[in-house]
C-alpha cells in the first residue's frame, strides 16, 4: 500500500475551511495546518489508483492553489 505526503497550498485565509473539507475524503489524513495557509496531509489508499484519484480531487477543491508532493513510498507495490 503506497504512502505519500502532500503540501496543499490554499488561497489566503482559506486553509482552515479547506482542511475541514478535505479531511472528509477517506484516505486523507491532515497532519497540520500551517499559519501561512499550507496544509500538510498524508494520502493513503488501498492502491495507487485510489491514492492518485484523491490527489487529483484535492487539486479541484475550491480555494486550493496547488497540491505538491513531498514524499512517495511505493515499496510494497
Amino acid at each position: 500500500m503506497p504512502v505519500s505526503s502532500v503540501v496543499v497550498q490554499c488561497l489566503e485565509g482559506t486553509a482552515d475551511s479547506v482542511a475541514v473539507r478535505i479531511s472528509a475524503f477517506t484516505g486523507v489524513e491532515i497532519q497540520g495546518v500551517l499559519p501561512d495557509g499550507q496544509i500538510v496531509a498524508i494520502i493513503e489508499a488501498d492502491d495507487i489508483q485510489n491514492e492518485v484519484d484523491l490527489v487529483s480531487k484535492l487539486h479541484d477543491v475550491i480555494d486550493v492553489v496547488t497540491v505538491r508532493l513531498a514524499y512517495h513510498n511505493f515499496e510494497d507495490m
Partner: protein
C-alpha cells in the same frame, strides 16, 4: 510488523512534508527507521523544464520511493503531481525491452547486432546514393546533454550533414530567435529568484498553475507574504491560472502583437520610459514585414534589419493607439492604458512570463521581441525581481537543444554553421577537417518531415520524442513516413508510441536514472545525475545507440572516451567561454545545479548586470556584451501586428487552440502509461464556451465532430472543465494518442524561428 513499518513510512512522509512546508521536523526517529535499506540519489525531474530536484530511493535494484529534494533551490522539497509518477514511468507493462525490426506488417524481435547492422546499411546506402543530406536525426529537449552532443557531433562532424533537429523547434525556437535578435545571446537574464522577489507578474499565454505548478506556487507564496503582489493573466482561455490571478485579460488570438505595441505606445506617449536606460543600453531596428507563414515546402526567409531612431520608432508605434487595439483585441482601451502604467510604474518590480502562447506563433520571434521592448523601454531588466522570463516545457530544451545546439543551423554555445570561425572552432575541438561541417543549414523540423514525405530525406532516426503524434498537419507526415521507395524510419523510445507505429526499426531506450545524464533548465541551471537502476531487458541509452551507429559508419574515432560522460563534458565545455561558461563535471556532481555562466566556481544570477555577471566591468552597470555588433546594446524592434495564417471564417468559424493539462505531459507516452493519470484525465475533451454550445444545440459531454481543412476528429464537449474556452474558441489537449488533434493543426510557422503555430487555426464544430 507490517503496521509498524507503515507507521514509520507515514512518519517519514509527514516529516518530509513538514520540512518542505517550512515547519519544524516532526517524528524524525521514526522517519529515520523508514529510510533503512533505501539508497537515495539526486536527479532533476524527468518531465518539464522547471527542473525540480528529486531524491530517488532505490532498494534491491528498484525504485521504491521519491521525495522532492529539500536541497534543490528550484522546488525546495516539493514536486508537482507529475513528479508523483516519476519512478513509475519506468515500470509500465509495455516497456520496450528488445529491438524490433519490421517484417511486412509485423514488428519482429531482433538482436542489437541485427538491428544496428540494418540501420547502418540503410544509412550507408542512402548516403552513397543520395548524399549525406538524405539522412537525418530528430531528437529532443529530453535528450541528455551527452545524447544531444553526440548526435550533433556525429551528424555535423562525422556524416557531414546539418540534418539534425530537436523537437524543441516545436516549442522553444521562437524564444531562441527572440533572445538572439534582441540580445545576440540565447537564454534569459533573470532566474527563478525573480518569482520570489518581484511584485508584478504579467503572464502571457502561460497556464503556469497547470504547466509549471511549482513555479506558480513560488509566485503565490510571494503574494501571501506581500499583498502588493499582482498577477495579470493574459489569455485566450480561462484556466486555473486565471482563477488565481488578480486580473484575467482575454484577448482575440494573434492580437498579443498589437497589445504589446499598444502598451509600448502608452509608455512612450506618457513618457513613462527610462530615458537614461534607453540612451545607454538600447538601439532601435526594424525588419521586413509581411513575411509569410512557411506554408509552402522549402520556404525560406532572411530578415533585413535596418537601424531606426527613437523618433522613427515612436512614429511606428503611432498606429497602435489603445482605441485601435481595442478593436483588434477586444481589450478595452482604458484597460490597455492601466496595464501599460502598471508595467511602467517606477515603484513596481515587473516580470513577464510566457510559454507556448508566444512561442507557437506564426510571429513567435516578433512577439518575443515585443515583450522585451516593454522591459527595455522601462529599464525593468537584469535586476533582481524584475525580468522577462521565457519558461520551457521540456527538461533539457535549454541544456541540450539550445546550449548544445542540436538545431540544423547551430553549433554549441550559440555558434552557427554559417560562420566560418565557428565551424573552424568546432572542427578544432572535434579534431576534424573544418570542411566536414557544411556551411548551410538544411531543414527545420517541419521541413525535415516535409522532405521525408517528398522523399528528399530517406532515413530518419528519432530519439526521445514522438513526432508522428506531435507534428502539426499530422496526416501528411504519417502517410509520408510509410510511402516506401527507400524511406526508412528508426524510432528509439521506452514505450510504443504513434511514432513506433510507422517505424521500420524500434530501439528500446534506457530512461532517466537508468543512465547518467545532465539536463539544463529554464533558468540556466545545469544539473547532473548518476545511473541508479538498470534499464529493463536490453534497453540502452540513446547515447550508446548513437555511438554504436558512429562506429558502424566508420566515425568511432569521434568518441574516443573511457568515462564517456565526464570526458565528453570536458570536451563540450571548451565551446562555452565568454559568458556561456560551464564548470568542470565534478562541480555538477557535487551541487544541485549551477546557473551559467559559471566563472571561477561561481554561478551567475543576473546576466549582463554589474556585480552579478563577471563579464560586466565595474562602472558599466548593465552591458548587453554579447551583442557586439550594436556596441553592447539590446535591440528594440519595430514589429507590426500581422494576421494569423488561418483565421475563422463562415465555413470554419472557431479558433482551435491546443495545449497541455496538469496530469499529462506532452504526447502522453510516459504519463499515459500510468493508469491513475489516465483516470484523472482519461482522454481528450473539447472545451467550448456554453453560449457557443447552446447555439449549436450541443449539451455537456455530448460528442462533437471537429474539422479543419486538414482533418476531423470526434470528441466529447466539456463545458465544466478546468479550462474554459472564450466565445468563438475551442481548446483540445494533445496528449491523447487515440485522438490526434494535431491532424487538424496547420503547419504554418514563424519564418524566423521555424516554430509552428499550434494555438491558432480555424475549425468547425458539429454534432457527431
Amino acid at each position: 510488523m507490517e503496521l509498524s513499518r507503515r507507521d514509520f513510512l507515514k512518519a517519514s512522509a509527514a516529516a518530509a512534508a513538514f520540512a518542505a512546508a517550512g515547519a519544524p521536523l516532526l517524528g524524525s526517529n521514526n522517519a529515520d527507521a523508514a529510510e533503512a535499506g533505501i539508497k537515495w540519489g539526486k536527479a532533476p525531474c524527468r518531465f518539464c523544464g522547471t527542473g525540480c530536484g528529486v531524491l530517488v530511493g532505490v532498494k534491491d535494484g528498484k525504485i521504491v520511493a521519491t521525495k522532492g529534494d529539500p536541497a534543490a533551490p528550484v522546488n525546495r522539497g516539493l514536486n508537482c503531481i507529475k513528479g508523483y509518477f516519476l519512478s513509475k514511468i519506468l515500470y509500465g507493462k509495455d516497456r520496450l525491452t528488445k529491438p524490433l525490426i519490421r517484417k511486412g506488417n509485423k514488428m519482429v524481435e531482433a538482436s542489437w547486432d541485427e538491428a544496428m547492422t540494418l540501420i547502418a546499411s540503410k544509412f550507408k546506402e542512402a548516403i552513397e546514393k543520395h548524399g549525406p543530406d538524405s539522412v537525418a536525426m530528430y531528437g529532443s529537449g529530453q535528450w541528455t546533454v551527452f545524447e544531444g552532443y553526440a548526435a550533433s557531433k556525429l551528424f555535423k562532424g562525422g556524416i557531414g550533414t546539418n540534418n539534425i533537429e530537436p523537437n524543441a523547434r516545436l516549442c522553444m525556437a521562437s524564444a531562441v530567435t527572440g533572445f538572439m535578435t534582441t540580445f545576440a545571446s540565447d537564454e534569459p537574464m533573470g532566474v527563478y529568484d525573480d518569482l520570489d522577489l518581484g511584485d508584478t507578474y504579467f503572464l502571457w499565454g502561460a497556464n503556469m498553475a497547470e504547466c509549471h505548478p511549482v513555479l506558480f506556487s513560488r509566485i503565490i507564496d510571494n503574494r501571501l507574504k506581500n499583498p502588493a503582489v499582482k498577477i495579470i493573466d493574459f489569455g485566450t482561455r480561462r484556466t486555473r491560472t486565471s482563477q488565481m490571478a488578480d486580473q484575467y485579460i482575454k484577448f482575440t488570438p494573434q492580437t498579443d502583437l498589437a497589445l504589446l505595441n499598444a502598451i509600448a505606445y502608452v509608455i512612450v506617449k506618457e513618457k513613462l520610459y527610462d530615458e537614461q536606460f534607453i540612451k545607454k543600453h538600447v538601439v532601435f531596428k526594424k525588419g521586413k514585414t509581411n513575411i509569410g507563414n512557411g506554408l509552402e515546402d522549402k520556404f525560406k526567409f532572411t530578415d533585413d534589419p535596418k537601424p531606426m531612431t527613437f523618433d522613427e520608432y515612436k512614429e511606428f508605434l503611432s498606429t497602435y493607439t489603445p482605441e485601435y487595439v481595442e478593436k483588434l483585441s477586444g481589450v478595452p482601451a482604458a484597460k490597455i492604458i492601466e496595464l501599460a502604467r502598471l508595467y511602467a510604474d517606477k515603484k513596481r518590480k515587473v516580470n513577464s512570463l510566457w510559454t507556448m502562447g508566444f512561442n507557437q506563433h506564426t510571429r513567435g520571434t516578433w512577439v518575443n521581441n515585443l515583450v522585451y521592448n516593454v522591459h527595455l523601454l522601462t529599464g525593468k531588466i537584469c535586476r533582481p525581481g524584475e525580468n522577462p522570463l521565457s519558461l520551457t516545457g521540456q527538461p533539457s530544451a535549454c541544456g541540450t537543444a539550445r546550449e548544445v545546439g542540436t538545431f540544423t543551423h547551430r553549433l554549441p554555445a550559440d555558434m552557427v554553421v554559417t560562420n566560418p570561425d565557428h565551424r573552424a572552432m568546432a572542427a578544432k575541438i572535434w579534431g576534424i577537417d573544418p570542411k566536414k561541417i557544411p556551411e548551410k543549414p538544411t531543414y527545420n523540423a517541419v521541413e525535415m518531415f516535409r522532405a521525408l514525405d517528398r522523399g528528399d530525406i530517406k532515413v530518419v532516426w528519432t530519439q526521445v520524442t514522438n513526432p508522428f503524434q506531435s507534428l502539426p498537419n499530422l496526416n501528411r507526415f504519417r502517410k509520408g513516413a510509410r510511402k516506401g521507395d527507400g524511406r526508412f524510419v528508426i524510432v528509439s523510445d521506452m514505450y510504443p508510441t504513434k511514432s513506433t507505429e510507422v517505424a521500420d526499426v524500434i530501439l528500446p531506450s534506457a530512461s532517466w536514472v537508468e543512465k547518467e545524464g545532465v539536463f539544463g533548465n529554464a533558468e540556466r541551471r545545469t544539473q547532473q545525475w548518476f545511473k541508479m537502476v538498470e534499464a529493463p531487458g536490453e534497453a540502452r541509452s540513446d547515447l550508446a545507440q548513437t555511438i554504436e551507429l558512429a562506429k558502424r559508419l566508420g566515425h568511432g574515432n569521434l568518441f574516443p572516451y573511457k568515462y564517456i560522460e565526464k570526458e565528453m563534458w570536458e570536451e563540450y565545455r571548451q565551446f562555452t567561454g565568454g559568458g556561456k561558461d560551464l564548470a568542470p563535471y565534478e562541480a555538477y556532481v557535487k551541487s544541485r545545479g549551477l546557473r551559467w555562466p559559471v566563472v571561477n566556481g561561481k554561478e551567475t544570477l543576473y546576466r549582463y548586470a554589474e556585480g552579478y555577471d563577471p563579464y560586466v566591468k565595474a562602472g558599466e552597470g548593465i552591458k548587453f556584451y554579447k551583442n557586439k555588433k550594436d556596441d553592447g546594446r539590446a535591440v528594440i524592434w519595430a514589429r507590426p501586428y500581422e494576421a494569423a495564417a488561418e483565421a475563422p471564417d463562415k465555413t470554419y468559424p472557431f479558433w482551435l487552440c491546443t495545449g497541455r493539462v496538469l496530469e499529462h505531459w506532452h504526447t502522453g507516452t510516459m504519463t499515459g502509461r500510468v493508469p491513475e493519470l489516465k483516470r484523472a484525465y482519461p482522454s481528450a475533451v473539447c472545451e467550448m464556451h456554453p453560449d457557443d454550445a447552446k447555439k449549436l444545440g450541443i449539451k455537456n459531454l455530448q460528442k462533437v465532430k471537429i474539422s479543419s481543412r486538414r482533418g476531423t476528429i470526434t470528441l466529447p464537449v466539456d463545458l465544466n472543465g478546468r479550462g474554459k474556452a472564450e466565445k468563438g474558441n475551442i481548446f483540445v489537449a494533445f496528449f491523447d494518442e487515440t485522438k490526434l488533434i494535431n491532424e487538424l493543426c496547420i503547419d504554418a510557422y514563424c519564418p524566423i524561428s521555424g516554430e509552428p503555430d499550434y494555438k491558432k487555426c480555424a475549425v468547425k464544430v458539429e454534432k457527431a
